[in-house]
Amino acid sequence: MKFFLFHLMPWPHLPADFEQHHKTSWIWCSNSFYDPKKGHQVYNDYLDQLEAAEKLGFDGVCVNEHHQTAYGHMPSPNIIAAALARRTEKIKIAIIGNALPLYDPPQRVAEEIAMLDVITNGRIISGQVVGGGPEYYSFGINPSFARERFYEAHELIMRIWTEDGPFSHYGKHFKLKYVNSWPKPLQQPHPPIWIPGAGSLETMDWVAKKRYAFMGIPYFHIDVFRKNFNYFREATEKNGYTAKPSQLGWLVPIYVAETDDQARKEFEPHLWYFIKKLLKGLTIIPPGYTSAKSMAKIWGDAQKNFLEKVETWEEILAGGYAIVGSPETVCEKLIKYGNDVGFGNLLSIMQFGDMPHEKAMRNMNLFATEVMPKLRQAFPQEN
């Protein structure tokens, strides 16, 4: 099993009564809530946490892209990756992802990922995503063409990395007379590709066919991951091979303290900050982003098993929405889910909601010293 520290870079300073006056922290949530003076400290705390991951023995860190929201104020994950590139030496930096349809032209992604890969001597993982529903409002990109733009940009980027230029690209969404990006990535034929997904069958089939890695998008009931990961493994078999553990990643909030009670006490307020303030709006799905048929299904099915609908601590624990407890409890649960659901990459969110820096660091330390070694023993594959 490999361990990644995943960071959302949430804005931790929303007012206590935020949810009473605001429907969402996305799209329309005024950036007057942002305070650059506090922001300076917030960014640097979060960067300290990501840098500490290397010393603590994590295999990598994950950064991600969101726009115009308090949920995560990391609009350019590539900038954060660049900041980490020279402050770390060994760990992988997974950028999951660049929301390809938001880049025009998509060479921007090919160039920046290649730059980072060369600077870090090949430590970059390129995550590629369609982008969240709210981002189609925020960036004025037509959601009807989200998937088309994603696939076209993806194929173009892969071609840039694996073929010599210059060449022309005249697609439906991007028209480029000369494609000839410098630099090229150091990893050959290209950096590993991670595709996050919520469980669209088409996406999982595609990832399996391409032999990329599938990362389950978080905040769903554990049953959803089990079902999706099983589907993905079957899809790889259909494509004539067996999924490697490294092809599956589970992204989950984790909190470790000395005892179960203490862990709950320390963690729970930040969980509700996240659910009540930050999460609301992530599921805004603009028309056309998902086909009308899938939409009808999503409304009925998946939303029932989504963190936003959860109201009690008992549901959190039962659904595996977050893994919280003493080192023994956390270890036991992760071994159980590791065996039962199956994943080779554990992407842990260890600073959650408005959790302060010291608490996040304590959590990371305890996890790294008390939990990680036991999990490495329990899941020796690809260590």
């Binding site: 009807s144 805004i284 028309p287 009308a292």
Partner: protein
């Protein structure tokens, strides 16, 4: 007094694409182009119009059972799709009524081929952008918010019938398809073509502009702007009415259309 008329639905094949058409009545042809709301199943206003005209009301591709949306990426594609429709039905010098999105489409057709139209009625039409009076957001709304936006009386039976809180699955599917197609055509630029305003001078046929005084989606300022830009036009405003006069002022709407079409 006029007798009740039969309203029928059939399908027209236009170069391999299937277009659903509501028809009814006799007399001079009236082509009705529907709004983003997708009034593509028989409704009272269809029947009222069919008492006076030979009504032809197609469903745009992507709406209801009309096909061909895959080949349409913007309003210009839809305009040419409708040129093919006019040709297929041999409609020449036709009278046209368009509500909202349908009004925009009518104007896109008329600025290109004004000779194909006899008279035009625009009802709370979109299609241009007034920077001092932005159109409201129509996407991503809860049913309550959508009723508030579109209807003068959001609590009316018609508002609840057309925007249902918990629609049955087949109706929900139509609503989602309608929104999806509208987004495809009009997500950005939002509900307008930046080139249209400067082309409106080309509409040289008599044009009646009907507007709900309390249209919160497309404020009356738009009706006034169309009236100013289209040479031979007249603006009539319905009191106590929102974005959808066809529902909230059905008989007044039909009366205005009849009066206008029958006048010299």
């Amino acid at each position: 007094m006029t007798n009740p008329v039969d309203i029928t639905i059939d399908f027209v094949d236009v170069r391999g694409k299937k277009i659903q058409v509501i028809r009814g009545g006799e007399g001079e042809t009236l082509l009705y182009l529907h709004s983003a709301g997708g009034e593509t199943f028989p409704l009272p206003f269809h029947e009222e119009l069919a008492k006076h005209f030979s009504l032809i009301a197609p469903a745009h591709p992507g709406f209801h059972e009309s096909t061909g949306i895959e080949q349409i990426n913007d309003i210009e594609d839809l305009t040419f799709y409708y040129l093919e429709f006019l040709d297929a039905l041999k409609l020449d010098k036709v009278n046209i009524v368009g509500t909202s999105l349908g009004g925009w489409l009518a104007m896109e057709l008329a600025v290109r081929w004004p000779e194909r139209f006899k008279k035009i009625v625009l009802v709370d039409a979109v299609g241009i952008w007034l920077k001092d009076t932005p159109m409201a957001e129509m996407f991503g709304l809860e049913p309550t918010e959508l009723r508030e936006l579109v209807f003068f009386d959001p609590n009316s039976d018609i508002a609840h019938a057309l925007v249902q809180d918990e629609p049955p699955e087949d109706f929900l599917f139509l609503v989602l398809k309608a929104l999806e197609t509208t987004a495809r055509l009009a997500w950005n630029p939002y509900l307008h073509n930046p080139k249209l305003h400067n082309r409106l001078y080309r509409i040289n046929v008599p044009t009646l502009i009907l507007w709900g005084e309390y249209d919160k989606l497309v404020p009356l300022a738009y009706g006034e702007a169309f009236n100013k830009a289209i040479p031979n036009s007249k603006l009539v405003v319905f009191k106590d009415c929102g974005h959808m006069p066809i529902f909230e002022k059905t008989s007044e709407f039909v009366d205005e259309v009849v009066k206008f079409m029958k006048s010299n």
